[in-house]
Symmetry: C2
Subunit: 237 residues, 2 copies
């Protein structure tokens, strides 16, 4: 017990630094503070967070696995610019997976689970009323993840975590200013159907919910400065 000077401090803080930097950058991307295409220079980030460059490097690599940043060899890291195709595929896949999650939830949900869902909705409502929009958005995403947790399928949860994150980025890229998101009312009605075990209606609601989200994107009228020239002039495809 003599050797270790401050075990708690060195241990926990060191472990969390990676995670903290990771989450801060991710949050910044989802809050539109870092629009798609923004260059993420390793040195600038390392200065900004007061950590070493290799730590940033590791975080950026992790973010690239999440498809939140694209890593171009010897060119650096950029906030990802999901293609229209990718955007459509993400939402289509969410429809498939979340419909199935709804079935599993109706099968498996306990009273405690429903309580958690209600709590989440309440917090989302509060955040909405008090104008904390970013928090409301985050909670809205968490509602979907909460359902995945209740489905008791770890793999589906992992996949959906990924898809929800990418959805945020897609909305940042293609969403209008007046993007309404999941209304919390949607979640409220949905939960009611869930509790009364109306599986088919719940599934339908979920699919509509996602379709509404997707319908609010505008894939066509992109301003010139947003266009990725590489995408436009690439040889084939």
């Amino acid at each position: 017990m003599i050797k270790k000077s401050f075990p708690v401090e060195s241990d926990t803080e060191t472990i969390n630094i990676d995670q903290q930097v990771y989450e801060q950058i991710k949050r910044a991307i989802f809050d539109h503070r870092l629009p798609p295409g923004t260059k993420l220079t390793e040195e600038k980030l390392s200065d900004l967070f007061a950590v070493s460059r290799e730590r940033i490097r590791k975080v950026l690599q992790r973010l690239s696995y999440d498809k939140c940043v694209s890593l171009k060899p010897n060119r650096g890291a950029y906030v990802a610019q999901p293609s229209v195709q990718e955007a459509r595929d993400v939402f289509a896949t969410r429809g498939l997976i979340e419909s199935h999650i709804v079935e599993l939830v109706v099968q498996n949900a306990t009273e405690a689970d429903y309580a958690h869902l209600e709590q989440n909705i309440a917090r989302e409502y509060a955040a909405h009323q008090q104008g904390r929009l970013n928090e409301a958005i985050a909670l809205s995403g968490e509602f979907h993840l909460l359902l995945a947790e209740i489905s008791r399928n770890i793999v589906l949860l992992d996949i959906l975590r990924d898809l929800v994150a990418r959805s945020s980025l897609i909305i940042a890229m293609y969403g209008r200013q007046s993007f309404s998101l999941c209304g919390y009312e949607d979640h409220q009605v949905f939960l009611k159907r869930l509790k009364t075990r109306q599986v088919q209606q719940a599934k339908k609601l979920m699919q509509e919910h996602l379709r509404t989200l997707e319908a609010q994107l505008y894939f066509e009228a992109r301003s010139a400065r947003d266009i990725d020239l590489t995408e436009v002039f690439k040889p084939k495809a």
Copy 2:
């Protein structure tokens, strides 16, 4: 043009080294040459492949994202030991996703696509007949991925790639010696249904196919040495 001594050599080879090491390790895991739980020491691997330790480190990290190795802080890397729960979830998720892929394939497949599928089956058959079992297994997995490609949904393809890889690991862990895998006949019959646009039958075949796979695993009668104590004694489950 004078400065660059051998641009092609340095470029392509350097880029591929990571990929090559990655694939060799992954292949070794799937071919049962590295059983689940095997310790993967950074230094040994770097000596073995004659590359630097940091390169190995990066590859191991990537493999941990694929859930093929588990990285324990300050303890090293081990070939992953998927839990029974995870195994079940992987197959359940494959059922969901691949059923949907079947629908998309019937909608989108061109003649060229069907030709590719037939080619794959032929090669799988040949590998089987000539006793190249590992190759047959790989081709069998590729058949499923080929379907995902034809579905024209990039996200589904990515997810399935992941799940197929994890399936290999699960089979390595829980499969009997006499594991029969996807018989190539299954694929043959399946393709016939596909071509005649018999969607429901094709979907049913796919689901049966996966269920057969899963049924050949034995989760119960594990020998004592295989039991993961962490799993047994974990606080709440």
